[in-house]
């Protein structure tokens, strides 16, 4: 299993191929379009992070101490963002997720674009993913 840091580095390398925000945007859209849709049963208000410009549904399941996230959004770009986060945080232990610093977000040079909506920016999604991890951590104690 690759560590969070390893995956982050791969993503940083991927993004290093792009010079412009235009290319990065299109790449994130592509990732978003590939994310498989969340089953309707999970698109509940409980799973919703409601923002100003788009909604995100996020859920997590655990298998042998390893967490897996599923998510969807009405914005393809946000789906791309969350797909990136899931690439890093899915299939990790709750501990690793809780402790992840996620420096890659700064390094791929998208912070300002990704943080643009206060309520459902990356921060809110990361917070929710970490809350899930904390929840499963306690469950295991």
């Amino acid at each position: 299993m690759r560590t969070i840091a390893e995956i982050e580095n791969e993503i940083i390398d991927d993004f290093a191929l792009f010079d412009t925000w235009e290319e990065k945007y299109q790449y994130i859209i592509e990732i978003g379009q590939k994310l498989k849709p969340l089953a309707a049963e999970f698109k509940t208000d409980d799973n919703k992070i409601k923002g100003c410009q788009s909604s995100v549904w996020l859920t997590a399941s655990e298998n042998n101490g390893i967490l897996e996230f599923s998510a969807d959004s009405d914005s393809v770009f946000v789906k791309g963002e969350i797909a990136l986060l899931m690439e890093v945080l899915s299939n990790q232990s709750p501990e690793a997720i809780v402790n992840a610093e996620l420096g890659f977000i700064d390094q791929i040079g998208l912070r300002s674009h990704m943080a643009q909506t206060r309520a459902n920016g990356l921060a809110a999604m990361i917070k929710q993913m970490k809350l899930y991890a904390v929840g499963f951590q306690h469950k295991n104690v």
């Binding site: 412009t20 235009e22 410009q53 788009s54 914005s75 393809v76």
Partner: protein, 414 residues
């Protein structure tokens, strides 16, 4: 109907040179600034007014006996007359400086509203108000046990006045309505609304935030009781705006903030208020921005406003017809009388995604609810993409915008 890109007689190329931001190159691409309803760009003369003030005569105003203070006071005081002229108030005493539209509405709610609205009364707003002309009234209703009523609108985004007589019943004690709706572009028949309200002796506040930058406003002709606007939407700086109120109403209103300038005399036993408009202007005013707002008004008076207005109408019509040709685009807000604001959605594409795509091309639009959530709810949509024009925008910019919208649809609406 297919319009072609027509050259207006208005010299847009010359006027664009007055606005330094317009030569910015985000991501190396020429800026196409279509977010004017959120805030307008500023001409160099407005920036110069700030620099000049801070570099040469910055001082606190009023009561100062020294040179800088007198120069600052003179420059500050003269703006009240400029604002009066800009909206044709009958005396400069009817002009109160506020932070912007939002503070203006809140000031009226906190003074006129608190004094006059009682349990069981209703306040009437319209279905297409900006949050700033809804929430202050909701808060006042909550405090007083009053109720908010709403003038409905139709699917074109036009107010339906059939029920107005009913809504203006004996309980109705105040009307607050926008001159031009920021989310839809609709220009409302406020003169008619005001006349009807006045026939029942109900005062009317007009939210002029979107109107002042596009139409010449005459508060005496409208006969509105209050009128509010923000400088930042009419070529002026952020942090300043004006509230107009009829003198007779202002005289009877309790003061707003307590502090310096708004008092005649203070003692621990009791305090007396200064005259209108000072009664409503506590503390050190936003001196520099008032002066810069004056420079913005001078700038408005320096060119042919009718021609500038025509340029906006041309942009609106041209862009509307071009968008109408794109099958997956649906324009939200198709009122007969519209300002140069086009809200639209794209089938199967999220508004923010489209906005971000346009951003990568150097085009600045706004996406979302435009602080008018009830409007979005009415149309049953989460938000729109909004392109809003100013006279310094060009037909060529519209062409480029349309081209990029088509690309966005290819990429996103799949």
């Amino acid at each position: 109907m297919e319009l072609t890109s027509v050259k207006s007689t208005f010299d847009v190329t010359a006027i664009r040179k007055d606005f330094p931001v317009l030569s910015e190159m985000p991501y190396g691409k020429p800026l196409v600034y279509f977010d004017n309803a959120a805030t307008s760009q500023k001409p160099q003369v407005v920036i110069d007014a700030l620099v000049n003030y801070y570099s040469h005569y910055n001082a606190n105003v009023h009561r100062g006996v020294h040179f800088l203070s007198q120069k600052a006071s003179d420059a500050f005081d003269v703006v009240r007359e400029k604002v009066r002229g800009f909206i044709n108030a009958s005396t400069e005493r009817e002009i109160i400086f506020v932070r912007g539209t939002t503070e203006g509405v809140n000031l009226v709610a906190a003074t006129y509203g608190r004094k006059n609205i009682q349990k069981g009364d209703t306040i009437l707003v319209s279905a297409m108000e900006h949050h700033s002309n809804i929430v202050p009234w909701q808060m006042l209703c909550e405090e007083k046990g009053a109720r908010l009523n709403v003038i409905p609108m139709n699917e074109n985004g036009e107010l339906v006045l059939d029920s107005l007589e009913d809504l203006l019943n004996d309980n109705c004690k105040f009307v607050a309505v926008s001159h031009t709706a920021n989310s839809l572009g609709t220009i409302n028949p406020i003169k008619e609304i005001i006349a009807k309200a006045h026939s029942k002796n109900i005062p009317v506040l007009v939210d002029g935030a979107q109107a002042v930058a596009h139409d010449e406003v005459d508060v005496q002709d409208l006969d509105c009781d209050f009128f509010v606007f923000s400088a930042h939407k009419m070529l002026g700086p952020t942090g300043i705006g004006a509230l107009y109120g009829k003198l007779s109403l202002l005289e009877e209103m309790p003061p707003y903030h307590g502090g310096g300038e708004m008092i005649k005399s203070v003692s621990f036993k009791g305090t007396t208020w200064n005259e209108v408009p000072y009664k409503f202007e506590a503390g050190t005013p936003n001196i520099a921005d008032v002066i810069a707002m004056g420079a913005a008004i001078d700038y408005w008076n320096s060119f042919d406003r009718a021609a500038a207005h025509q340029q906006e109408i041309d942009l609106l019509n041209y862009c509307t017809s071009k968008l109408a040709d794109i099958p997956s685009v649906r324009i939200i807000g198709t009122a007969k009388h519209k300002a140069a604001v086009i809200s639209f959605i794209v089938d199967k594409a999220n508004a923010m995604d489209v906005g971000m795509f346009l951003d990568t091309k150097g085009i600045a639009v706004r996406t979302g609810q435009h602080c008018a959530e009830p409007v979005m709810d009415w149309f049953g949509i989460p938000g729109t993409i909004r392109a809003s024009f100013m006279f310094y925008n060009t037909m060529e910019e519209v062409d480029y915008f349309i081209e990029q919208i088509k690309k966005a649809i290819q990429l996103l609406a799949v």
